[in-house]
Amino acid sequence: MSSTTASAAAPPAGPKAADAGAASMPVNPRSAKRRRTLAQWGFIAPAVIFMALFFGYPLVRNVVMSFQDYSPSTFFTGEAPFNGLDNWNNVFSDGLFGKALWQTILFTIGSLAGQFCIGLALAVFFTRRFPLNGILRSLILLPWLVPMVVSGIVWRRIFDQDTGVLNSFLGTVGLPADTPWLTSTGMALVSVILVNIWIGIPFNMVILYGGLQEVPKELNEAAALDGASAWRTFRSVTLPMLKPVITVVLVLGFMSTVKILDLVLALTDGGPADSTQTLGTLTYQNSFVQMDFGAGAVVGNILILISAVFAVFYLRVNRNEGK
């Protein structure tokens, strides 16, 4: 900043002398306008270049790749012949795709519902004043700080059917102690969802807690004076006021949940018997285990498409809020 002011104050020298000469003539509005437009683009340029390079290029590349026979030899020859819809047909005719899609839907809905409800309940709980409020609130943030893969590995141990802490705890309190958390095809997805809920609670709680702080206390008091019960106040005053925040939490939560990969790999590797495969793990498996990059790109594109639909939905809702 200081350098700009300093140089602006300094007498124009060298090539700038010509500018000063031009300025002493009647100001040419067209060239001024052009410069200003140029300046505006100058500011936008880095962002545009950045977006095009790191978002646009991979995106377009991925779409193109899904129509190509992209194999390991492509890396040597640079040739990836177009094969029309072959990759798409292969992916859709593979029974695993339908299964993974269905499991992704279950996983996403289950995780979001769990994270949101518990997160909201905790957020409301922490709006009350009580001793140790701050400490407890920061303790609940812990799952957020732990890397996904670490959570996965730790929970895999906790869930171990015979030697895991969870079953042995259930045993000591007199509950059935041999729940096959991760080892039965029926239970594994539920367990993965439970872990993801555990991971997602802090995010939901923090954002919703922030939103609750914005709700004017007077409104609740007014509702109470009108004789509304606590539940009624919450439903008719707090929730509508929270709506924009809820949209943000759910849309962001959706996008990070639908692409889940690392957690599933660390917990179950997609097993047992593919019962926890999601679109994310399928992309990984196609691209980096089978080295069929075309098929991997197909599933990746589908994931992008799903997220894009929700992103548009999110933008629309936000625009309406603005009006």
């Binding site: 005719s93 895999r156 095809t185 080295m291």
Partner: protein, 418 residues
Amino acid sequence: MTEPSPDGLARRHRSRRIVLPLTVVSAVVAGTVLSGCGQQRDDDVYTVMNSSTDESYHRWDGDTLARCSKQLGITIEQQSVPAAQLMTKALRMASSKSLPDVLQLDASEMPTFAEAGGLIPLKDLGLTTTDIPEGIVDFGSFDGKYYGAARTVNTLALFYNKDTLDKAGLKVPTTWAEMQSTARKLTRGKQYGLALSAGGAEDGVFQFTPFMWSNGGDETKLDSPEVAGALDYWKALLKDGSLSKSTVNWTQADVNDQFMAGNAAMMINGPWQVETLNAKKGLNWGIARIPVPEAGDDSVGPLGGGVLTVPNTGDTERERTAAKIIGCMAGEQEQITYALNSWMVPANSKAAAVWRTKAPELAALAGQVSTARSRTAKVGAQWSSVSLALQSAFQSALTGESSEAALKRAQQQVTSGN
């Protein structure tokens, strides 16, 4: 926006002064990003890329390379990448023409790289296969060409807790029936008779192969009665309670943890666990061949480990030197040193003979290696599809489906190319 601002002059100057640097910054950023793609090769420095990211392995390889540098009069550098990322990293390097001079690949991944035209046959570069057993030559070959020189190989064996077996008065099992009854007898309380990995990744498939192969089964026909028989044997162990139900969720490292914690009396595992096993005080373990279906059958295990390859960089001169580096790294003495460090078996039969006298406690492993087979010898680069289909099949079978139905589906999956 059309009307000139009151201080139009100053604004114009400032804006121009800002436009230029911003454009320069953008250009510089873009330039740096793009220039990262091309790398210059140093004439006297050769690189070996491997997956030795563990401190001990990295150090052993570093020592080997230092000795080879001296011997060949060049500088050899080591670049270690996590095993799971090595393949994709190497492919990326191939597309940016910056491949290392020597690339250590996992033997099961080598065919994929060779099929893509990424490797130079070692015999073309003057390396021979004298004194290397045929099984190990196959291990480093694809489509009849020898691409990868193994320094050492590993395989699976039966590890057992000597004290537990002695206390129960049981002998080390040699047949499937013996293993089943021994495991059942040793299953009590928190302790399972046997631990193995049937996880949904390559670990599980690796562990299934000795059962499949010893029973006469084959990866080219997953729906044969022999493969089903092997899977039924696993199912029987699980039904007896000799295997933990968590088996389908365990990696080989988990299996080792269970064994060390005393939760399993025997385990199927590989020699790479020996370092950890020896670190546990009071654990008295022994090692034996994996039991076979009937007495007298061959115990056929899977060969595992890395092979040293020369990537196709188009620079014949450097490729020849790379072959010399491999010749040094896989030389008899280096093999023995590496084998003794890492508890694996030297690939060269002369080196293996010396190693046997120095590590007698692992003799069972040397026997197992002599009959062991490479996973990719028959199906080559298709192995990854076979492996995925197989892991899905045995997991389905272990969690309730019939072995026949699960394997039939797996075979269809492989045939249809999905």
